[in-house]
């Protein structure tokens, strides 16, 4: 069976591998991306005429290699000296040339992932760079996903690439003692992209599931290389539980909260997969704090996913999981989520008490939750004031509409 868009498919599947392979060989972050872009353009011209080659990825690799070699020759003539990407000595001495994707290439892809999400890069830059270099998401699309202009995103990516070369961030795998920490950063990078899609702060779209989908793809591709890494297993479970609800979260352009969602519209295959992941034996051993936090959050998501209806959620159990989460990750957003669960389990007054002293300056969510709990407690005046506060701080049009509606329903 021939895919409808063979080039699109090979680009989507192989971009990261090809980038990694070319980087390992030529060490020129500045040339690799352009050369690969040129190769894809050439493929778009010639494949429809000459037919799709037997090994499309190898074809693209060869075409991109030729572009890079051309550029290197031109530069040698111009005697320009460009800084090279740092590649571990052992890797360089091997001097081997790999024409085919193979076992060693997986290793190169891991190097690429670790380089893009290096802790010396700003987290937003690392997220964007990973989407660009590992997944091959076009720059204009990344700009749209992160809600910035195309030129801003292009500049951000260029700066990040320059910084990798300038600061000496290696294209390498650190030794085993450091690798779990570095994979934690990889996970954070992917989760940042995921949440950016899941709860956008501004604009008309309630969620941009495509960004979350790309973030899941990023985690899957790293997990393919490090199958038992607890932080990746737990993060993928968490993402899949959240992502499984995407279609039920919006109806007629309006936000639908968890209790009112049509559970038929949840993606059962993803929930099944996420359940299998949180039961993985690897999550029962000692894990990093980050992995523990993802695991507990995934277990909370599982409680919601597996409850037969919203009313039958085991709220006391959810509260206990939130207590556990607070021990591992005592953040304001963990406390906010716990207060919501407490309100469900023990009533709005208990929820309001749990909300006391929780502050997150950058979000309207605390005011929105307080408003909702005050409304349930029958304190309508205070609820209206809290809704006003939430509406003033909210930047998402769909959520604002939802908050207005709630406020009006108070009469």
């Amino acid at each position: 069976m021939t895919p409808v868009d063979p080039l699109g498919e090979v680009v989507r599947e192989e971009w990261g591998r090809l980038t990694a392979l070319l980087l390992a060989r030529y060490r020129r972050l500045d040339l690799v991306e352009d050369a690969l872009g040129d190769a894809i353009e050439a493929a778009a011209r010639t494949w429809p005429v000459d037919g799709v080659p037997d090994r499309p990825a190898a074809w693209l690799h060869t075409a991109a290699s030729r572009r890079i070699i051309d550029r290197l020759r031109t530069e040698a003539i111009a005697q320009r000296v460009e800084p090279l990407l740092v590649i571990e000595a052992a890797r360089r001495e091997g001097g081997r040339v790999m024409a085919d994707p193979g076992a060693l290439v997986e290793d190169d892809l891991l190097r690429l992932v670790l380089m893009c999400s290096h802790p010396a890069l700003a987290p937003e830059a690392a997220s964007a760079l990973s989407l660009r270099l590992v997944l091959g998401v076009p720059t204009p699309d990344i700009a749209r996903l992160f809600l910035v202009s195309e030129s801003t995103m292009a500049a951000r990516l260029t700066r990040a690439k320059k910084r990798i070369v300038g600061a000496g961030i290696p294209f390498g795998v650190p030794d085993a003692s450091v690798l779990p920490d570095r994979l934690d950063t990889v996970a954070q990078t992917a989760y940042l992209a995921f949440t950016a899609g899941y709860s956008p702060g501004t604009g008309a779209d309630l969620l941009r599931a495509s960004l979350s989908g790309e973030a899941i793809r990023l985690v899957r591709s790293v997990l393919a290389m490090r199958a038992d890494e607890p932080v990746l297993v737990s993060l993928l479970a968490l993402m899949l539980f959240q992502h499984s609800r995407r279609d039920a979260r919006v109806r007629d352009g309006r936000l639908v909260l968890l209790p009112d969602q049509d559970r038929q519209r949840w993606h059962d295959d993803e929930i099944t997969q996420a359940r299998a992941l949180i039961d993985a034996p690897v999550l029962r051993g000692p894990v990093t704090r980050q992995a523990a936090a993802y695991t507990i959050q995934a277990r909370i998501a599982a409680e919601h996913a597996l409850a037969p209806s919203a009313a039958e959620t085991r709220w006391e159990h959810v509260v206990r999981l939130h207590d556990l989460l607070l021990e591992v990750a005592p953040t304001p957003s963990s406390r906010l989520a716990r207060a919501v669960a407490v309100a469900e389990a023990r009533g709005p007054a208990a929820g309001l008490a749990a909300l006391e002293g929780v502050e997150i300056p950058t979000t309207h969510r605390i005011a929105a939750v307080r408003a909702e709990l005050l409304a349930r407690a029958g304190e309508h005046d205070a609820a209206r004031a809290a809704y006003d506060q939430a509406i003033a701080a909210c930047r998402n049009e769909v959520e604002i509409a939802h908050l207005r509606e709630r406020r009006q329903s108070l009469g």
Partner: protein, 118 residues
């Protein structure tokens, strides 16, 4: 690559003058361990490293309107005084950060050195 590592703040380490002689001896042991770790690592060379005098002995030089100006004390933007520095050749940032873990837990700034000969 070559890096300049500035030991720029005490961080969670007690100021040198507040340390007991035992604590100072322990810190000296860490500096020694760092030297040895650098020597043992392939591709790493410790090119220079010195402890610096108190901030009150520092002088700041600025050029304003073509005139050299000297002022007493450290560069104002650096609130704490710089305690020392190393000039180190290392293959990459990860190797360097790994080695710097041997030192007392100072706040540091790592700046790659620009190779002007290239």
């Amino acid at each position: 690559m070559k890096y300049l590592v500035l030991l720029i703040g005490d961080g969670e380490v007690k100021p040198w003058s507040d340390q007991t002689s035992d604590e100072q001896a322990e810190a000296m042991g860490l500096f020694q361990a760092f030297d040895e770790a650098c020597a043992a690592r392939d591709g790493v060379e410790l090119l220079a490293g010195e402890a610096l005098a108190e901030a009150s002995d520092a002088t700041t030089l600025r050029t304003r309107g073509g005139q050299l100006q000297l002022t007493e004390g450290p560069y104002a933007e650096i609130v704490e005084s710089m305690g020392g520095f190393y000039l180190i050749a290392a293959p990459d940032l990860d190797v360097l950060v790994d080695l710097l873990g041997h030192l007392p837990a100072y706040d540091m700034q790592i700046s790659p050195v620009v190779d002007v000969s290239a």
